[in-house]
């Protein structure tokens, strides 16, 4: 009965309902602005959540139907039609959108101070809700777009809404710079995409995504442009510079959406165009592999030495996006070599990791925002001991970290295992030597990156949540009960555990998307034969037995005492390990990459044994930002200053320009 309700025509109805709810919400915020009142939180959140739920139901109905549903809204829309299609590839991404949107809605009231913010400016809640609704609307329609023009329109809606959201909470210089960086990156991506789309239109004569194929040599420029645009939007090295700025400045729930879902639309585009279009250009594949690998290492190294919790998460996104790009390029490589099973494993890994990363990154973002909200700081050097003050947040952050470090039995393990397995099988197959060499070397590199992310997240938990508070700010009153944001966190972490322990079931659900992307009839569940469920059950039972038999009975006789301090009496929290000192050994090994400099200045008469003052200063000048970006920005500034001379403001000169353009166009028209 319920399934009938969600059958194909109705799933369009549900998608429509979602769009309707969000559009009505946007209209309400505009009306409220006109009436100079505030839209009630409850109404705005109900519309957001209702829309998200409708989109999710639509996606499930779409999944049940198993066939793509097409819907043309307008016959004439620019050069083509305004048409949408919901196919198996879009479904996982729509479900991710629903999930993260619901979680961020649930936590909005706790994380957004709707009266005043830190600087004392009145928080414009109408503005905020309008942008969130536009962001959701844009993202859903990006995922459903059937042709290039429709895609670009909603891609722009999404990007502009995201950029404005970054500045919505704080009116300060840093947020404005972050928004500027974000909008620059989006514009660059859009420009590259437009170029690629026009090229493909020229090649194929249509704007429909479904009829674009990337096999022939003439499509190479378009494929390369798409890859570069995706890399910029996803924050792949060297275009990662805007991620840490923008994720750190966006208000909590928006940051969860931007980091969890918006970056994934870039991955979705790559899958939709290059993987579905069967791209076989080796250059595109190897460039993607190289950029992905560099971002993996680069992102996690910078995450490790980062002090700001949200910036740390953003750099770790760079790493995970790199991993996904690597997996996609491997699947294209395997397809090119005629190895459908490996291509299927890599694509399953890609889809699952994209979904998983969306879940645990938004979880970690929301947790970091909760800390920011409570302690009014995200600086790890000021935090500490939050396990006692935010127990639920701690639990969720812990599970999220286990998942992002890809440790079993979490969902991250399942998806990373698939990527490892794809490289491993590639190294076994009789493919050209360089492909085997790359695949085997990638196993080493990925394990290195895995160990780095373990270091990074043990630091994040250990410094922020464990030990003692390092400042007054971290000594706020403990949370009582399960607030909305804590509930969102707990639900997301439960999903992480569920996706990991029952990976088989979840992968089976991905099978239609896999079949669509690779054309193989493989069941995705069979690609992941590790018995995680059995092992984790066994582990859980064993650990409980050990606890109950050995530690449990001794709990009553347990003594609580101060931490060991060599007999000097309780030491202050300043004696604790800090985030910087935790990552310092690694920072020193990679000081060439990180440009990390530590200066220690000890003053006093007998400096070594009786210092009077010790000053330690660490400095890090990110290489890319200071040299590459700076040059680029200088170049842009210089050329725009030069170009302004063209625009004198005189009407005569502008008429001359018009006239000259006309002549050129007429000439071109006669010649071509």
């Amino acid at each position: 009965m319920l399934f009938d309700l969600m059958a194909p025509p109705n799933c369009i109805l549900f998608y429509g309902l979602a769009c309707l709810a969000w559009t009505i919400g946007v209209a309400f915020t505009i009306i409220a602005d006109l009436l100079k009142t505030k839209l009630s939180n409850r109404l705005a959140l109900t519309l957001t959540a209702g829309g998200a739920l409708a989109a999710g139901i639509g996606a499930i109905g779409n999944y049940q139907a198993g066939i793509p549903v097409n819907f043309t809204a307008l016959k004439h829309f620019g050069l083509t039609t305004l048409s949408f299609t919901g196919d198996n590839l879009a479904i996982p991404f729509i479900l991710l959108l629903t999930l993260v949107a619901l979680a961020s809605t649930l936590s909005t009231r706790d994380l957004i101070d709707s009266t005043h913010n830190k600087e004392g400016h009145r928080f414009q809640s109408n503005h905020y809700y309008r942008l969130i609704l536009l962001l959701l609307l844009g993202t859903l329609l990006v995922l459903l777009s059937a042709n290039a023009i429709t895609f670009l329109v909603f891609w722009e809606v999404m990007s502009v809404a995201a950029a404005s959201l970054i500045t919505s909470e704080h009116v300060r210089h840093r947020a404005q710079r972050a928004a500027l960086a974000y909008i620059t990156a989006s514009r660059l991506a859009t420009a590259l995409l437009t170029g690629a789309f026009l090229w493909m239109y020229h090649q194929s004569g249509t704007f429909d995504f479904a009829s674009w194929q990337f096999q022939s040599n003439s499509t190479f420029p378009a494929a390369l442009l798409i890859l570069l645009a995706v890399c910029i939007k996803a924050g792949i090295w060297p275009a990662h510079g805007y991620l840490p700025q923008s994720y750190a400045e966006a208000p909590g729930p928006a940051a969860a959406l931007i980091s969890g879902v918006i970056g994934k639309t870039a991955i979705y585009l790559l899958l939709r165009l290059l993987v579905l279009g069967n791209c076989q250009h080796s250059w595109v594949i190897y460039i993607a592999l190289a950029l992905g690998t560099i971002s993996c290492i680069w992102g996690i190294l910078f995450a490790l030495v980062e002090r700001d919790l949200k910036r740390l998460l953003a750099f770790s996104s760079v790493e995970n996006m790199g991993l996904i790009i690597i997996a996609i390029s491997l699947s294209m490589l395997a397809r090119k070599e005629g190895l459908p099973v490996i291509a299927a494993i890599a694509i399953t890994g890609t889809l699952f990791h994209a979904f998983n990363h969306g879940v645990f990154k938004s979880l970690l973002m929301l947790a970091a925002s909760t800390i920011d909200k409570k302690a009014h700081t995200r600086d790890l050097a000021q935090l500490g001991g939050l396990a006692k003050r935010l127990p639920w947040t701690m639990l969720a952050f812990f599970i999220g970290s286990v998942a992002i470090c890809a440790l079993p039995p979490s969902n991250g393990f399942a998806s990373k295992w698939l990527i490892y397995q794809a490289f491993f099988r590639m190294a076994i197959e009789s493919v050209p030597l360089h492909d085997r060499a790359i695949s085997l070397a990638m196993l080493g590199i990925l394990s290195f990156v895995g160990a780095l992310s373990l270091a990074c997240y043990t630091k994040a938990i250990g410094i922020a949540f464990l030990g003692r508070p390092r400042s007054k700010q971290a000594q706020f009153t403990p949370e009582t009960g399960l607030s909305g944001s804590a509930m969102a966190l707990v639900i997301l972490s439960a999903i992480c555990v569920f996706l990991g322990t029952s990976a088989g079931i979840c992968l089976r659900a991905i099978t239609p998307a896999l079949a669509e992307l690779t054309g193989s009839g493989l069941d995705a569940a069979n690609l992941f034969p590790v018995a995680v469920a059995q092992l984790s059950l066994f582990g859980l039972i064993t650990a409980s037995i050990i606890y109950l038999c050995i530690l449990g009975p001794r709990s009553p006789g347990m003594k609580t005492y101060i931490t060991w301090d060599c007999g000097y009496g309780p030491l202050s929290a300043r004696a604790e390990e800090t985030g910087s000192s935790f990552s310092h050994p690694i920072g020193r090994i990679f000081s060439q990459v990180l440009q990390l400099k530590v200066e220690t200045n000890i003053t006093g008469r007998d400096r070594r044994h009786f210092p009077e003052g010790i000053k330690v200063e660490t400095r890090m000048t990110p290489f890319i930002e200071t040299t590459v970006y700076k040059r680029f920005i200088e170049m842009v500034n210089f050329s725009s200053l030069t170009l302004t001379r063209l625009q004198t403001g005189s009407i005569h000169v502008h008429l001359l320009y018009l006239f000259l353009t006309m002549i050129v166009l007429v000439y071109l028209g006669t010649v071509l």
Binding site: F448, G450, T458, G462, W564, I589
Partner: protein, 318 residues
């Protein structure tokens, strides 16, 4: 792989496995300590001292730091559980605890389970807010990230040559594509052994018997653990010693002429003897060599990585 149907065979296998899992890890440590003591002209504690220590610790009352959270007492339980799981998965002796085909001893699963144990150990060390624990934790993750690629590459190279990522098949004594690849086995064994020295916090990387907390890695991390909590952490560590030494010894054992190891008993004796002889070798190193300075350690680990890269080159040249 045919599933063994002979119940007697399974019983013999599992029984011996269980006995070696219970006896071998503490005994290895006992032998190691005794040998070091003899080198230093001391009589040394009895061989079974680790058992006595554990028994003593289990009876004592526990003291926990006032700053510790729930993680502190959960971590050793998880740690020991992971080690027990790994003892079933890693082919560290010639015995197979569970018949082939029931659970695959997947290479990536094993490496990430080791990671899970490390995750909990490191967090438990940071949990009390002790400066020593923090130092130890920071060093542990640093060493782990340098060693991890070497371990992964050594095992992956063997796996690639054998054509499977299931280590129980890679290390099986039936004829595989790896039979006769003495060079690869030897290099992988050396790489794993050097990595294990670092992973197990043994001498060139860490001095387990030093009196100075500031220089320690593993001991600094469990400085706050006491009584049963410490006992659990120690048992976990003992098992890890046996597992990793056993794994590298299995690589060396595949270098031996196969007719020497044709029957079950010979293999079982060689596996056990191998772990003990590696422990003796470590005792020899620890008596003759000094602990390296912290800043020199990456150079030592480079040897392990070099072994891994040589096996990588061999594995590629089919």
């Amino acid at each position: 792989m045919s599933i063994e149907t002979n119940t007697g065979e399974i019983l013999k296998n599992s029984g011996t496995f269980l006995a070696s899992l219970i006896i071998l890890p503490p005994l290895t440590i006992g032998i190691l300590r005794k040998t070091k003591a003899r080198f230093q002209n001391r009589i040394g504690a009895p061989l079974l001292q680790p058992f006595f220590d554990l028994a003593k610790l289990l009876q004592k009352n526990e003291t926990v730091s006032e700053h510790a959270s729930w993680l502190f007492r959960i971590a050793p339980c998880i740690n020991l559980t992971v080690m027990l799981l790994l003892s079933l998965l890693i082919p560290w002796t010639s015995l197979t605890a569970i018949p082939h085909g029931i659970i695959s001893a997947d290479l990536f699963l094993i490496i990430y389970l080791l990671g899970l144990a490390r995750f909990f150990t490191v967090l438990a060390a940071l949990d009390t807010g002790s400066a020593f624990g923090g130092f130890g934790a920071s060093r542990e993750v640093t060493l782990a990230l340098l060693v991890e690629p070497a371990v992964m590459l050594c095992l992956a190279c063997l796996g690639v040559r054998a054509g499977t990522s299931d280590l129980s098949q890679v290390f099986s004594y039936e004829a595989t594509r790896l039979t006769g690849q003495y060079g690869l086995w030897f290099l992988a064994g050396c790489g794993l052994f050097l990595s294990s020295l670092v992973e197990l916090s043994r001498m060139p990387a860490d001095d387990p018997t030093t009196h100075l907390e500031l220089t320690m890695v593993h001991e600094a991390m469990i400085l706050e653990n006491s009584a049963a909590n410490l006992a659990l952490a120690e048992i976990g560590h003992y098992i890890k010693v046996a597992l990793l030494l056993g794994l590298s010894w299995q690589c060396f054992m595949h270098c031996l002429p196969s007719h020497l190891l044709s029957d079950w008993t010979a293999r079982a004796i060689a596996s056990t003897g191998g772990i003990i002889s590696l422990a003796l070798f470590i005792a020899l190193i620890e008596s003759l060599a000094v602990k390296l300075r912290w800043t020199k350690l990456p150079e030592f680990i480079a040897y392990a990585v070099a072994m891994a890269i040589f096996s990588y080159l061999i594995a590629l040249s089919v």
